[in-house]
């Protein structure tokens, strides 16, 4: 009975490990059902989506507990279940899933935040007529994202990665009636493709190098010692080892997905989608997928890493991250659309994560990823609640004074804002502080440290600006702002709670998170603060943040500029403001370079067609014309007679042939059979000799 099925797992994992596949499967199945539903059955749709994701959350918690248990009892847990997907020739394509601290933490985060956002969007999308479609896409996305998280095979990861991209496209363009939304969706899709192509190249190369698609597989996976050693020795030109090159290619994919420079342009436009989407996909989970991917292949990047040193791949990651962090923060200062501000801040925070990965390893980056997921989702949903309350108004200059009319939103939003600004002791503080610390102790260069500190200052500044625009001063919009329904505010409150306390699992005194991810025993000691540099560092960052807050408050606090009068900052330094508010002309730059290049090239081709080839053709035709004149003379006098005769002959022959094409099937069949006979006869005859 056992051999009745071809599927045999390579390893026997714990029960939760064996059914881990259910976590992504449930939302996807739910999506399938919802896709079948009709518009009227809204309740069924939302309850299906939420219920399935809730089940996934329970399973994810179980998995997390399993890993936690393994960690407490002191032996690392990395359960993998792999199986052959298909054999083609001698090569087998393996799929599989892995359960280790990294994926466990990510699972819990995605399912939990996702669940809250699902619940939230019940309220937010209540009036949309494509409610069921929305939830179908949403839970399809959740499933794919979870698939990315648990994938142990880079192929499976890539598939889910692409599904995630697709759902992102579908959801950005959810209101496809708006041309801007459609354009944004297209832009997002194409821009991320640029990264994904490199990613695909990386996958192929990786497969070619290691002959396996699996990350972990009893020491034979591509991320395990044997393959890594092999890839280190293999050379890829430019003095890079294959490991570095592949790592960089995969990182390019990550850059595309999580909007790092120079592929960040799609993320701000992605805010055309419904706000829950922005919260779930473009703040909490999908854009983090890039970071997660980088963390997943970190062994590849850090191959051959000496303590205190760095590798090419890692330094690239670091620089890209730092640059993105500062750049996006700068741009965010001068935006007026509440969601765009948040979008740019997301980009910059993602930069922080990348930098953290490059500087301090998986733990640092992932810690910021988790905390950021919580408070950024909180901020977005708060923004959504504000937009909802102000009758779909998105321009901060038309808001203001909402702290009175929308208490809950204001409180929770403030918590999120402080967390994002990294104000002690909110979650963001600890995670950002960890990054700054590792940046400070980064030997190759100090520049990233200063960049990141500057970024922190800006972050505090623009968040203050936004909050004082939105919640302070008096209301400048039309209509009366109103608080959002309970179903929307409750998730906010929950998220706010986490935004406040979540950082405590990663304080220097008790670096639980880091030791959990890196599988070291963890213990609590105040001495953690006393380590050289830590305290001063914390003080500096706090000071920086406070400076940022004060600066913002001094410029914008409690005064409420109307939309028509220029921004406070604009009055001080107009040129900078103009540059910033035009997003440092990156889009224009692309427009002026790549796209313009295509136009130019097209024009060149056109010119070639018209002038050069056209000229040649004209010349040829002319010569032919000449030749033809001669021929005509020749024909009329000599050829015609013979030719006419030939034509008659042909006509007769054609008549004969035409009789065969009678349109009678059996005639054709007969000829076919006849041909068979003749051929077979010839064959046999020839085979005699």
């Amino acid at each position: 009975m056992q051999e009745a099925i071809p599927f045999t797992p390579y390893t026997v994992a714990s029960w939760i490990g064996r059914i881990l596949w259910l976590i992504p499967a449930l939302p996807i199945v739910a999506a399938g059902f919802i896709a079948l539903l009709k518009q009227p059955s809204r309740k069924l749709a939302s309850s299906l989506a939420i219920g399935s994701l809730f089940l996934s959350l329970l399973l994810a918690l179980a998995a997390f507990g399993d890993v936690l248990g393994g960690w407490v009892t002191g032996h690392a847990v990395r359960e993998t279940v792999n199986f052959a997907w298909m054999h083609i020739g001698a090569t087998t394509f393996d799929l599989g899933w892995v359960l280790d601290p990294l994926s466990a933490v990510m699972l819990v985060m995605v399912t939990f935040v996702g669940l809250l956002i699902f619940i939230y969007s019940v309220g937010y999308m209540a009036h949309d007529e494509n409610y069921t479609r929305f939830f179908c896409f949403l839970s399809l996305f959740a499933g794919a994202m979870l698939g990315v998280v648990i994938a142990n095979s880079i192929l499976l990861l890539f598939m889910c990665w692409e599904i995630v991209g697709l759902t992102s496209y579908l959801l950005i363009g959810f209101w496809y009636q708006k041309p801007s939304a459609a354009a944004a969706a297209k832009k997002a899709f194409l821009t991320t493709r640029v990264g994904d192509i490199f990613f695909l190249l990386g996958i192929v190369w990786l497969f070619a190098q290691t002959r396996t698609l699996l990350f972990y597989n009893q020491g034979w996976g591509s991320l395990e010692a044997v393959s890594l050693a092999g890839m280190l020795t293999a050379h890829a030109g430019l003095g890079l080892s294959a490991a570095t090159a592949i790592g960089l290619l995969i990182f390019a994919g990550a850059v595309g997905k999580s909007g790092q420079l120079p592929l960040h342009v799609w993320l701000p436009d992605a805010m055309e989608g419904p706000t829950p989407v922005s919260a779930l996909i473009h703040a909490a989970t999908m854009v983090a997928a890039g970071v997660y991917l980088t963390a997943r292949v970190y062994p590849l990047m850090s191959a051959g890493l000496q303590p205190g040193g760095t590798t090419v791949a890692l330094s690239v990651v670091t620089w890209v991250g730092a640059a993105t962090a500062v750049f996006a923060a700068l741009v965010a200062v001068a935006q007026n659309d509440i969601k765009r501000i948040l979008a740019y801040s997301t980009v910059s925070q993602l930069g922080y994560m990348m930098a953290g990965l490059g500087l301090g390893g998986v733990a640092v980056g992932m810690f910021h990823l988790i905390t950021h997921a919580f408070f950024k989702a909180l901020l977005f949903m708060g923004a959504g609640s504000v937009i909802h309350g102000c009758h779909e108004e998105q321009d901060v200059r038309h808001m203001g004074g909402l702290r009175k009319s929308m208490r809950w939103t204001f409180l929770t939003y403030a918590a999120g804002m402080l967390a994002l600004a990294g104000f002690i002791p909110f979650a963001g503080f600890w995670s950002k502080d960890a990054i700054l610390e590792s940046a400070h102790s980064w030997h190759p260069s100090k520049a990233p440290f200063y960049l990141l500190v500057f970024g922190a200052l800006l972050t505090a500044f623009y968040m203050t600006r936004q909050v004082s625009y939105v919640f302070f001063g008096e209301y400048r919009g039309h209509g009366h702002p109103h608080e959002s329904p309970r179903v929307m505010t409750t998730p906010l409150a929950i998220l706010a709670f986490f935004a406040v306390v979540l950082g405590l699992v990663g304080t220097p005194a008790w670096p639980w998170f880091r030791s959990f991810l890196t599988d070291r025993p963890s213990y609590f000691e105040w001495a953690g603060f006393a380590e050289p540099g830590i305290l001063t560092l914390m003080l500096t960052s706090t000071a920086v943040v406070v400076v940022g807050l004060l600066l913002g408050w001094w410029l914008y606090g409690n005064k409420s500029p109307r939309a028509d009068e220029p921004d406070a900052l604009e009055r001080m330094m107009p040129p900078v403001w103009r540059a910033l508010s035009n997003r440092l002309y990156v889009d224009e730059f692309y427009g002026a370079t790549f796209i313009a290049f295509y136009y130019w090239w097209a024009r060149v081709a056109d010119w070639l067609d018209r002038r050069v080839w056209g000229g040649i053709v004209a010349a040829v035709t002319w010569s032919f014309g000449l030749w033809a004149r001669f021929n005509r003379f020749f024909d009329e006098n000599w050829v015609n007679g013979g030719f006419d005769k030939g034509c008659e002959e042909l006509a007769v022959g054609g008549g004969l042939l035409a009789r065969v094409q009678s349109g009678r099937v059996q005639t054709y069949l007969r000829l076919l059979a006849l041909a068979v006979v003749v051929l077979a006869a010839i064959l046999i005859w020839s085979s005699r000799g």
Binding site: S662, G663, R664, V665, Q666, L669, R670, A673
Partner: protein
């Protein structure tokens, strides 16, 4: 006269009969019947070759036969569907009258 040869002869005869039917009858359905017979003859060949071939354990001929049975089912369905459509269009299944090359 080896057993294989006998089977092949029977198959050949059956094939010829089917061909004759397909060539001589004027009813489209009967042409299809002839074609079915030809297919079956081919199947008989395949199975016979599998049975007396060098490597029966590889199942190649048998698989071929099974697949061709499946394909034949599809072929019959589509073919008869076409015949019915033609009948509805031209009110006849007489091939001698269905010789228009355009509908």
């Amino acid at each position: 006269m080896t057993p294989l040869a006998e089977y092949l002869l029977v198959a050949a005869l059956l094939f010829a009969i089917g061909l004759a039917g397909a060539l001589t009858r004027r009813n489209a359905i009967l042409v299809l019947i002839g074609i079915e017979l030809m297919l079956n003859a081919a199947n008989l060949n395949l199975v016979a070759f599998w049975r007396y071939g060098a490597h029966p354990e590889l199942l190649t001929g048998m698989m071929f036969a099974i697949f061709s049975i499946a394909v034949a089912a599809a072929e019959a369905a589509v073919g008869l569907g076409l015949v019915i459509a033609i009948y509805r269009h031209a009110r006849t299944t007489d091939l001698d009258e269905i010789n228009r090359m355009k509908g």
